[in-house]
């Protein structure tokens, strides 16, 4: 049962080739909670606030700052080449959760709508454009193993970004509610429209109740820091 579920999720992940920016274990917490998440790295930084209106639906603001490489290839032929700020109102929906005695698996989807602001090198705004961003995520975790995949598309006039990632992780200690639990995570990610190629990043994840923190350095030398807190 568990193995067939893992296989199904991995197949789904492979088909969807998808990724959410800050790919955490759970983009949404319990009903009435607020998940605040920040991610910092050279090409893509994000800040999201997700209040849970129900146990499966959240609505909140998201800011994504992007710094495309000059020769980013593939997408967005009309790109201005400047830094971008995507300001979106996001809806996060847990489509389904499978709860087992030893595991948890989830299917997530969401969509955001808002504005893209492009800033040329001299810092002068060139105006706003309407923007939207759908995403999806599938994940499976036990007390010692995590696998997940996600995809996210950012679209506005003359700008298009597709971020796809797959993640796997293993806990270095057993799960204990009263102690920090360190995890070793490995992520493979493509960011079409931002950079070429596949970026591989090993990350150290620390998890304790309301706090999830991650730090790592990608194969291209980029430092990544993620911090998520649940209120």
């Amino acid at each position: 049962m568990i193995f067939s579920l893992i296989t199904a999720l991995l197949l789904l992940a492979g088909i969807e080739l998808s990724s959410r920016t800050a790919a955490i274990a759970a983009p949404l917490a319990h009903k009435g909670s607020i998940v605040v998440s920040g991610e910092v790295e050279p090409l893509l930084s994000s800040f999201t606030v997700t209040p849970a209106l129900t146990r499966s639906t959240g609505v909140g603001p998201a800011l994504h700052w992007m710094n495309p490489e000059t020769d980013n290839g593939v997408m967005g032929d009309g790109d201005d080449g400047g830094q971008e700020l995507w300001s979106l109102l996001m809806v996060t929906q847990r489509l389904h959760r499978w709860n087992g005695a030893q595991y948890q698996a989830n299917l997530w989807a969401g969509v955001g709508a808002g504005l893209l602001t492009v800033l040329p090198g001299d810092g002068t705004s060139v105006g706003n454009r309407a923007a939207w961003s759908p995403w999806a995520q599938a994940d499976f975790e036990t007390r010692r193993i995590y696998v997940g995949a996600s995809t996210r598309w950012f679209q506005a006039a003359d700008s298009e970004r597709l971020i796809t990632s797959a993640r796997a992780g293993v806990a270095l200690t057993s799960a204990d509610y009263n102690r920090w639990q360190p995890w070793l995570m490995l992520e493979a990610r493509t960011m079409e429209g931002l950079e070429q190629g596949v970026e591989i990043t090993p990350l150290l994840r620390l998890l304790h109740r309301r706090v999830l923190a991650e730090a790592g350095v990608s194969t291209s030398g980029a430092v990544r820091l993620n911090l998520t807190y649940t209120y």
């Binding site: 274990a25 759970a26 917490a29 319990h30 009903k31 009435g32 909670s33 146990r55 499966s56 847990r94 959760r97 499978w98 709860n99 087992g100 005695a101 030893q102 595991y103 948890q104 975790e141 036990t142 007390r143 057993s174 799960a175 204990d176 509610y177 639990q181 998890l207 304790h208 109740r209 309301r210 999830l212 649940t230």
Partner: protein, 112 residues
Amino acid sequence: MTISQRFLPLLALGLASLCHGFALAGSSLYRISINGMVCSFCAQGIEKRLKAVPGTESVQIDLSKGMVEITARPGATLDAATLKKAIRDAGYDVRRIEGPSAAGSGAPATTH
């Protein structure tokens, strides 16, 4: 002997009886097995929802067993349906509820 001196022992006896009455009422213990509770990130949400249930005194999480122990306030009884709803609102499923039993006593009754 003044009036207050005569009534002081009676007052002390009354207070002692009151305290003994609370002790007899005792605390009830509930044990809940939960599906999907695999990390402390999940468990903290469950703990928060259960602590908000009226009559709950304390919540203990055993992550390795996927189990939660709830101690009710002395004299309070917790409703199984309310506990299940609190856990469902946190995003998880109840596998089994045992209780109430007197805190520190033997096996409690079981509700599936």
